[in-house]
Structures are given as C-alpha cells and as structure tokens.
C-alpha cells in the first residue's frame, strides 16, 4: 500500500471519530445547560476547553453561550475541528484513498458529507440541536458499520482502526483531565461526593452514562468513574480499551509486514501502563500528571506510526 494511502485512511478515521466526539461533547454541554441554569457560561466554557479549541474560540468570541459555542463547534469553517471541517477532511481523505475503500464505505462517507453539509448549512436552532447531534453520531456510526461489514481484515483495516483509536484515546484522556480539574478546586476533594450532574456530563461525553449504571456496582464518585473511563476494558471508549486495540492492530501490521516497528514498542509501553492497575495507584501518581503523560505519549505514538509507515515523503 502507498504510504499516502495509509496516511489518508488514518486521518479519515481520525476525522470521523473527532466529529462524533465533538457531537457528544456538545450534547453533554447542552443537557447540563438545560437542566441547570445557574451558570451556563462556565458550562459552555468548559465544553470549549475540553474540545481543545479555546485559543481559536477566544480569538473570535468574547463570552460563552449556547448559540455561539455550538455554532463554533458545529459549523465554523475557521475552526479546523468543527464538525463541518472534519467531515470535509474525512471526505477529502476518503477521495484520496478511494481505491482502498469498498464501495459501501466510500458511499457511507460521501453520504455523510452530503447529509451533514446540508444539515449544517445554516446555524442550528436550539430546537433542532438534539436531532442534528444524533444525526452526526448516526452518520459516523454508519461509516464504521460499513467498515466492519465489508472491508478485508488487512493493512487497510489496521490503518483505519489505528486512526480511530488514537483519536479516541486522545479525546477520552482530554475529557477526563479537563473535566476533572474543572470540578476539583483542590486535590483534597478527591474522593468526596461530587456533583452528580457534572459527572453525568463526563459520562455523557463518552456515551457511557447508561453503561456505567449497568457495569459498575458503585456510586457516582470520582474513583469509580475515573476507573471506569480509564481502566475498564469493557467500555469501548476507555483508555485501556483504546490502548489494547492500538497494540492489536500494530501487531497485525507487524506480522503482515514481517518487521517490528518502533511504534509497536511505544504502544506496548502505553498499554502496560493501563494494565493491571487500580485507580488508587493512578491517583497516588497524580491523575493530571498521568493523563497528561497519556496524551503526550498518544501524540508521540501517532507521529511514530506516521514515520514507520511512511505517510509522508
């Protein structure tokens, strides 16, 4: 496969994952703002911070409110991470790697782009927001479904999944980090009873609010929720799950290509840090430090994959 094609697949799925994550984040912010109106400004600010787009946002806007934040995250062409921008990016990458995709995957991406471009043509009024956000999630699920259902399990599939999980790992780590610190005025608060609504927002951002109730026989408290999001391998958005998927796909590639790239070593290191751990040892290490190291190492891993497989000249 061409290095360019591998890179195109990787970024196509990073973009699609990012679109879905942004939609989840907006949904979480929107729900909180609806159900708790005493300080919506700080809620919307925290949504912007979590999406890692604060500098770009403050360059354009002074305050935080539902209309401006959602418009910035959904539609703003100046925001390279807006849903519209990343969907366009995903579709451009899909065109680039058209020969590597089955017709079904290509049509799903192309349709996603057409449907969302139309849905996001004008600012989305609050009444339509839930519908549009659900459409974004559905469309990116459609592409993933086509990928699972029709693609050969070869290197094409591996690069697609790597893009997916590198992005998801980064996103989950950021959500936990930013939210956690927004909530905790001092580390002494760790373990104290938290505001349920705030925790619900964290769980909603990763679509795990219902799973938590089913999977975890414990309270809505910091250690339980952090443990679920970081270490629980049953949750498809947990850091541990993402890391093990990344190791798997790099191992498949290594087997197929009969060489051992540096990225596999990095991924195994990352995975080992999330295996056989309990949350109290992570809290002892310092959650913020731990998450920051994960974000940094995920980024390094992404760059190493890019180099190992010659995405660029």
């Amino acid at each position: 496969m061409l290095g360019k094609t591998a890179g195109g697949l990787f970024w196509m799925f990073r973009n699609l994952e990012r679109a879905g994550n942004t939609a989840r984040l907006i949904e979480a912010g929107f729900r909180i703002a609806l159900t708790r109106s005493n300080d919506p400004e700080s809620e919307w600010k925290s949504v912007i911070v979590t999406s890692a787009s604060r500098p770009a946002y403050t360059a354009k806007h002074d305050g935080y409110d539902s209309a401006r934040v959602t418009d910035f995250l959904l539609r703003d062409p100046d925001n390279p991470n807006s849903v519209l921008s990343v969907i366009k990016g995903a579709r451009d990458n899909a065109r680039l790697v058209r020969t590597a995709l089955t017709t079904e995957v290509w049509m799903a991406v192309n349709e996603t782009w057409m449907v969302l471009t139309k849905a996001l043509k004008d600012p989305v009024p609050e009444t339509d927001l839930p519908e549009v956000l659900s459409l974004i999630r559905q469309q990116s699920a459609l592409v993933r479904g086509a990928l699972h259902g029709t693609m050969l399990r070869n290197d094409i599939y591996d690069f697609s999944r790597l893009g997916n999980f590198i992005e998801r790992m980064d996103s989950t780590a950021r959500i936990i980090d930013v939210k956690y610190h927004a909530l905790l005025p001092a580390t002494s608060f760790v373990g104290s009873r938290m505001d349920n609504v705030q925790w619900e927002m964290i769980l909603r951002s990763v679509s795990a609010h219902a799973s938590f109730r089913w999977a975890v026989e414990g309270d809505y408290n910091a250690p339980n929720i952090a443990s679920f999001l970081i270490l629980d391998r049953r949750l498809p958005r947990s850091l541990a799950f993402c890391a093990s998927q990344i190791v798997d796909h790099l191992t498949y590639l290594s087997d197929e290509y009969r060489d051992r790239p540096q990225s596999l070593d990095l991924a195994q290191d990352l995975n080992a840090r999330l295996r056989d751990r309990d949350i109290s040892s992570i809290f002892d290490e310092g959650l913020h430090e731990f998450l920051n190291a994960v974000i940094r190492d995920t980024n390094t891993l992404g760059l190493q994959i890019q180099q190992d497989y010659r995405f660029n000249a």
Binding site: G3, W106, A313
Partner: protein, 474 residues
C-alpha cells in the same frame, strides 16, 4: 432564428423506427413516462451518492458537478459498429506511425505531405523525444476519437484525442446504471459488453512494459490529485484495474528506476498511466515550478526503464491543424484510403482561407488549434453580431491559432423529457487501447448529448449530458 435543416434521426425514419431501435421502441411504448422520469431522478441520486462528479475550475460553490444522464440509450447496430471500429483502428495505427516518424526520420515532412512549420511551431512538439523510441514503439496507448454522424452511412471524425482522453468512467458507469434500472431490457435486447474495458486496459498497459521488466509489470495511474476535474475518473480506473493511484510526491527515482513510496518501503514500477500533462511531468525537463510530476522521470524514460502512457509529445497529433492532414497521414503510412471521413477543415493560417473564414463566420464553427472542452470556440450560427465581431478580431490577431469547419448537421437521438421523447444532437467518443501487439476497441463509447433543444454543443463543461451507448450483437 434557427435554420430549418433536416437532421438525421438515429431512432426514426419517417413514420418508421430504424432497425437498431425496434426492440427498444416496442419496450418504450409499454412504459409509463412518469415512472421513467422517477427512474431518472433515482439515477441522479445514485450518481451523487457514488460521487460520479467532475470538478469545475474556478467555481468554489459548485465545486463538484454531476454530468446529467439521460436514460434513453443510443443504439448502434453490429454492422455500423464494425465499420466504425475498423475506421478507428486504421486511424489510431496511422497516428502512432506518424508520431514515431516525426520524432525520428521525419519522412512525412521530407515528402512534403505535412508542412514542416506545423511541427516546428507546434507547442506540443517535444524536442526531448527526438531520436528515441518508447518501449514497444507505442506513443498513444489510449485514444478517444470524437465522431459525429450526419446520415445513414456518414460518420465524420471531429477530432482525435491522442493525449489524455477522458470520459471512459462515464461510459462504464452509465452502463452500470442502466443495468440496475432496467435489467429486464437487457434480457430482451442483446447488447455487447463494455465492462471488460478495465481488464483490457490493464492488459494493454502491462503489454507495453519496458523490455527489461521481468515478472508481472507493476502499473500505476498518476493523477494531479483530488482537485483535478477528472479525479473521479482517475480513482475509478485505478480501482477497476486494481492498481495504485499515485501522485508525483509518491514517486521518486531510485537506481535508475521509478519507485513508489509504500508502507513497506520503495517499490519499482514499470508502467505509468499518467493523467498529468506533459508540461508538469518532470520539473527537471519541463515546467520547473511543477509539483505534480516526478523530477528525473524523463531520464529514466529515455534510459528505457519506464513506460509513460501516453508518451510525452503525443499532443502533436491532437493539434486541430494536424487533424486536417489525417487522411493524407493514413494514406502515407498504411497505403489505404481513410475509412472514416474528416470534416472539411479550413486552416486559418493560409491567407486566402482566412479571408473565406472571415467572410463566412456566421456559418462556421471556429476552434483554437490546441483548445479543448468547448472553450475558446465560436459557433457561428449561434453567435450574435458582437460575438462575431469580437471573434473576427481574435482571428485576425493570430490566424494560425484557429481552424474553421462548416456547421455539421449532427444526427439526433431522443432524450426523455416530461413530455416524452424529444430529439437532441449527439456525438460519440469510442475508446481505443493500443499495445505493441494489438488494438482493442470497446464496443460502445461515451455518447454526449446537447440537452438544450437545437443546440450543437455537447461538452459537459458547456451543459451537455451523456447517454449509455449500445452496440447490438449481430
């Protein structure tokens, strides 16, 4: 305004239906026009979802456009096709011989059949190709010959696209769409297949690999990238052939060969089906600012280690002034009379001719010698006074840049309108594949249709549409 001319109708002859259309007509008579109109809308949705689009330069809001598709097929009998394909084969053979000759011994110039200055002043002529024979001796591997019809037996070649003919993906997708929409029709009427084209293209390209290539030749398609107007076609062809679609920055020269950057290192390639113009092919030899090509590819080419299709410098034969000599070119190299006719062509470079063209501008079609896509041309009968006067100035300013042809009475094939069938003018672009050992012409081609009543302009960039082209089994 429009003059009353009796255009040849390919479907009807008086009150009768012409033989190739009889089965179709009886099927159509049993159809509900409203249902067909709905089918036509379905087809458009299908094209849009599949991404069968072309990009329009300089129009960011309408970045990608569909070429309108009409669901009434254009039907040719087996006998009509046999004659056409023989004529195309003869022409393609002669054009390849001509290209080899003008880049080597130049006998046709010495014999005084084609004027020397037509070659010497030709912008598409590449001195770098002199005294060099491409692998297998083939210059133009893929040719799209534009043909129009004016009567039962009157087929004229409008131009030879020997450089980088496009449109073959539409030929294939149009058929695919028809098969999906009207499967029952194809079980009633036996139509020759076009679906072998990608397989034949790959075989033909592999057959043109350099002599030093051992094992199965590695073929790639070279595209300028996703912003090119024909990008869809490039990716489609690579996909259908099962070969890599590359851009210039995926390639580099390694040990005297061209290699592509893969996830497992560099891999040597043997044949490049390039959809990048000559000028952009090699920044070391041609346009130094080009990012689209491969630095050093011309040296590898001249060392015989890569096949470039179509060969650089092939555009000489695309020139509309050369076109006017093709019947003589055919006779010179094959000793036969041309099977397909040329349209009478006035070369404006000749002073007497220029005067004639200026005097009769309102009745002529004037084209730029190197123009394509319907740009820079004048359709006299459709132009107003000011357009005629403006164009006359351009002509006087640079007469050698233009040729003129009489407006032909193009044949019509019906399209589906809300009111039922209505005749529209068409042309036809069949595609020929040339390898050192064979010439293969897929039975059919791209039929382009002017969707506006009375219009003669069929170009997609000028609002034309396409139709599926059927060649019946005889």
């Amino acid at each position: 305004m429009t003059k009353k001319i009796n255009h040849f109708s390919e479907m009807t002859a008086g009150d009768d239906v012409r033989a190739p259309y009889r089965h179709y007509q009886s099927w159509f008579a049993g159809q509900d026009v409203n249902r067909l109109s709905r089918k036509a809308q379905e087809a458009e949705v299908f094209f849009r979802r599949t991404g069968i689009t072309f990009n329009v330069y300089g129009q960011s809001d309408a970045e990608e456009r569909l070429i309108p598709f009409d669901l009434v097929p254009r039907i040719l009998s087996g006998a009509e096709w046999t004659k056409l394909s023989r004529g195309i084969e003869q022409r393609v053979r002669a054009i390849n011989a001509f290209l080899h000759d003008i880049y080597n011994r130049q006998e046709i110039l010495r014999a005084g059949i084609v004027p020397v200055e037509l070659i010497a002043k030709n912008a598409a002529f590449l001195p770098q190709m002199m005294d060099f024979t491409p692998p297998g001796g083939v210059y133009t591997h893929i040719v799209g010959t534009d043909i129009v019809r004016t009567g039962e037996d009157d087929f004229y070649v409008l131009e030879d696209n020997a450089r980088t003919p496009s449109g073959v993906s539409y030929m294939l997708e149009n058929r695919e769409t028809m098969l999906q929409m009207f499967p029952e029709l194809f079980s009633k009427i036996k139509v020759q297949r076009v679906s072998d084209y990608p397989k034949n293209l790959r075989r033909s390209l592999e057959g043109s690999a350099p002599a030093g290539c051992t094992g199965r030749p590695c073929v790639v398609v070279l595209t300028p990238g996703i912003h090119n107007s024909a990008y869809y076609e490039h990716s489609f062809l690579a996909d259908q052939m099962g070969v890599e679609l590359v851009e210039g920055h995926d390639l580099r020269v390694i040990d005297g060969h061209i290699a592509m950057r893969t996830t497992r290192g560099y891999k040597v390639i043997d044949v490049i089906y390039r959809r990048v113009d000559d000028d952009f092919l090699d920044p070391l030899t041609f346009n130094p600012a080009s990012m689209l090509g491969v630095p050093g590819i011309m040296d590898v080419y001249r060392a015989g280690n890569i096949t470039i299709t179509n060969a650089p410098g092939t555009g000489v034969a695309d020139d509309k002034a050369i076109y006017s000599y093709v019947p003589e070119i055919i006779e010179f190299y094959t000793g036969e009379k041309a099977i397909l006719k040329n349209v009478q062509t006035h070369r404006c470079s000749e002073p007497d001719t220029l005067k004639y063209v200026l005097d009769n501008l309102a009745d002529l079609v004037v084209k730029e010698v190197h123009g394509s896509g319907g740009y820079g041309m004048l359709v006299g009968p459709a132009a107003n006074k000011k357009e005629l006067a403006d164009f006359a100035d351009k002509l006087r300013g640079n007469p050698a840049n233009y040729i003129a042809q009489p407006t032909l009475s193009l044949s019509t094939v019906p399209i589906l309108t809300d009111a039922g069938l209505a005749p529209r003018h068409v042309d036809l672009r069949p595609f020929a594949l040339v390898s050192p050992n064979s010439i293969n012409i897929v039975p059919g081609g791209l039929t382009r249709v002017a969707l506006t009543e009375g219009s003669l302009v069929v170009n997609s960039s000028q609002g034309g549409g396409t139709k599926d082209t059927w060649v019946l089994e005889s």
